[in-house]
């Protein structure tokens, strides 16, 4: 290992990602697809293979997944999750069925078996809460009547991930039915225990993380350094233990995020967001690294097909969910369009499958799928309102269907 070479390679990669991120901001899309492309370029069979820093980026990628899920968990309070689960369940299940189906069916048709179907169904199912939430804010759609419908669906999907990831980890580990069942029971118990602790004894967790308050820190509230190290340490530790128990590191981190709430969650988010951005970028690059660009071409056709199906099924989901909430035509179309982007978690799922040594084509297909929808999703959402307005002008007012 040459330290100088490592620093040079790493520096060049991070700087390159910074430039790509700037480009993404300018064009108004998510940087995730650009990071993936960068990974493809650097990877095996790519333009500039990385030798020295790949191992480091690999470890960074693990931390990236953990931090992505942790900050996602921070966004939600336990009460919100429980209240949400009650009234979103019917639409949420419809979302699951409609959107997992295309992936699962294609996997079966391609002969990847039930495990492949489980993976690809997960890849096509989940929307990117990161991209969607940002999109709603950027477009000024948070005030719209359909915003809570969209956000509730995202919450449901994220909760579904907390159940899905342990199942996937167990299945990918290829353990027997008995061990699998024990692991599953353990995972579900862990989720229940964390929700219970967070709901009833949230203060204990807060107290441990926020203390001690001595000297000047007592007045300012908390010491950033102490909080950063404690929170990061706790998250990595729980994630590691969860992984050891086959529950999936990501889910462990998500649960810690949920358990931390209130003002502490706000501070933790501010402190950890920069770290999250860095390591998440490492994660997307690492996923790209593992895909040989040559394997992309054979699956490109399927990826386009799957992406088209993914747009339609999410559109239908958003449409139906908004209609159920008594929202008009415009809002229904916007809800459908907002849900289209896929991103980080689709790659997390595919990453688990690739790491477990499943068909390499599956990784390539998932990568291409996310590339298409992470780029196209925000563009579709931007286009939907002007299109609707143009149509409204073309149709006389009295022909508009009554709400």
């Amino acid at each position: 290992m040459h330290p100088a070479l490592l620093l040079i390679e790493l520096g060049a990669v991070v700087l390159g990602l910074g430039l790509l991120s700037a480009l993404a901001v300018r064009v108004g899309i998510s940087p995730i697809p650009l990071y993936l492309l960068a990974g493809l370029a650097f990877g095996h069979g790519g333009l500039l293979p990385l030798d020295t820093s790949e191992e480091f980026i690999g470890v960074g990628a693990e931390i990236g997944v953990v931090l992505l899920l942790f900050t996602l968990g921070l966004e939600y309070t336990p009460d919100e999750l429980v209240a949400n689960l009650r009234h979103t369940a019917p639409v949420g299940l419809l979302d699951l069925a409609l959107n997992a189906a295309p992936g699962a069916m294609l996997a079966l048709w391609l002969g990847w078996g039930p495990v492949g179907a489980l993976v690809l169904g997960g890849v096509t199912y989940i929307s990117s809460s990161g991209i969607v939430a940002k999109l709603l804010g950027d477009l000024g759609w948070l005030g719209n009547r359909e915003a809570p419908v969209v956000l509730s669906l995202l919450v449901f999907e994220d909760l579904a991930m907390a159940v899905y990831l342990p199942i996937l980890t167990t299945v990918l580990a290829g353990v027997g039915v008995y061990t699998g069942a024990v692991t599953m029971a353990g995972a579900i118990t862990a989720v229940a225990v964390v929700l219970y602790v967070a709901l009833r004894h949230g203060r204990l967790v807060q107290g441990f993380l926020a203390g001690p308050r001595v000297g000047a820190d007592a007045e300012s509230g908390q010491n950033d350094e102490v909080l950063l190290l404690k929170v990061l340490g706790l998250v990595l530790l729980v994630a590691g233990i969860a992984q050891q128990l086959q529950v999936s590191a990501a889910v462990g981190a998500f649960l810690v995020g949920i358990a931390v709430s209130g003002p502490l969650a706000e501070s933790a988010r501010q402190l950890l967001s920069p770290l999250r951005d860095l390591f998440a970028a490492a994660f997307f690059v690492f996923f790209g690294l593992q895909i040989d660009p040559a394997t992309l071409w054979p699956v490109a056709g399927y990826a386009v097909l799957l992406a088209a199906a993914g747009v339609l099924t999410k559109f239908a989901t958003g449409h139906l969910a908004a209609r159920r909430a008594g929202i008009g035509r415009f809002g229904r179309a916007r809800a459908g369009a907002a849900l289209v982007p896929r991103g980080e978690f689709n790659i997390v799922i595919a990453g688990l499958a690739v790491a477990a040594g499943l068909d390499t084509e599956l990784g390539a297909l998932a990568g291409a799928y996310v590339l298409i929808l992470a780029m196209a999703g925000p563009l579709i959402a931007r286009a939907v309102e002007p299109l609707l307005r143009a149509r409204r002008r073309a149709v006389p007012a009295d022909v508009m269907p009554a709400r």
Binding site: N84, G140, L142, P148, L151, G328, F330
Partner: protein
């Protein structure tokens, strides 16, 4: 009374909207970060927010001051004029008061004086019709309605027990 519609935005914060007499809708998103968005809805489509204006908490506070037509004290004064013979008094719980950490029920104010505690103002927030298990803290302001005699008797209880 204006009806305020409250909607939770999971992961973001809360949204409150009101419909004006003329049928327009206006609302506010309270982000968890303290940011506020002022929302003006589309004239033709009540589902669509036509304008979203982000405000810092200071700006939102300034706007609220400008919009508030009367403060709570003036409102109470108005109420007082409507019902003759009743007075409204605002009595602070001073630090060291015997009820500093005790409950409203402990004061037995209504039984002892005939006057009622109708609200408590704490750090600018109003708690309407507090129940007997409402616990006072120092610097709460207790709003009492009753006869002049009754109200000052409550003040005496809160100060001296």
């Amino acid at each position: 009374m204006v009806e305020i519609e409250r909607t939770a935005l999971p992961g973001i914060g809360l949204r409150h909207t009101i419909t004006t007499e003329r049928g327009r809708q206006v609302g506010v998103i309270s982000h968890r970060t303290g940011r506020r968005d002022l929302l003006i809805y589309d004239r033709d489509d009540p589902d669509t927010c036509a304008e979203t204006m982000p405000l810092t908490s200071d700006e939102a506070g300034a706007l609220a001051e400008l919009l508030a037509p009367q403060r709570i004290v003036e409102r109470l004064a108005e109420l007082e004029n409507q019902i003759q013979g009743l007075v409204t008094e605002q009595i602070p719980i001073t630090p060291g008061s015997p009820y500093e950490t005790r409950t409203l029920g402990d004061t037995r104010a209504r039984t002892r004086t005939g006057a009622s505690i109708v609200a408590v103002v704490r750090e600018g927030q109003v708690f309407h019709s507090p129940g007997p298990d409402f616990r006072f803290t120092a610097n709460d302001v207790v709003v009492v309605v009753g006869t002049g005699e009754g109200a000052s008797a409550v003040a005496d209880i809160l100060a001296n027990g």
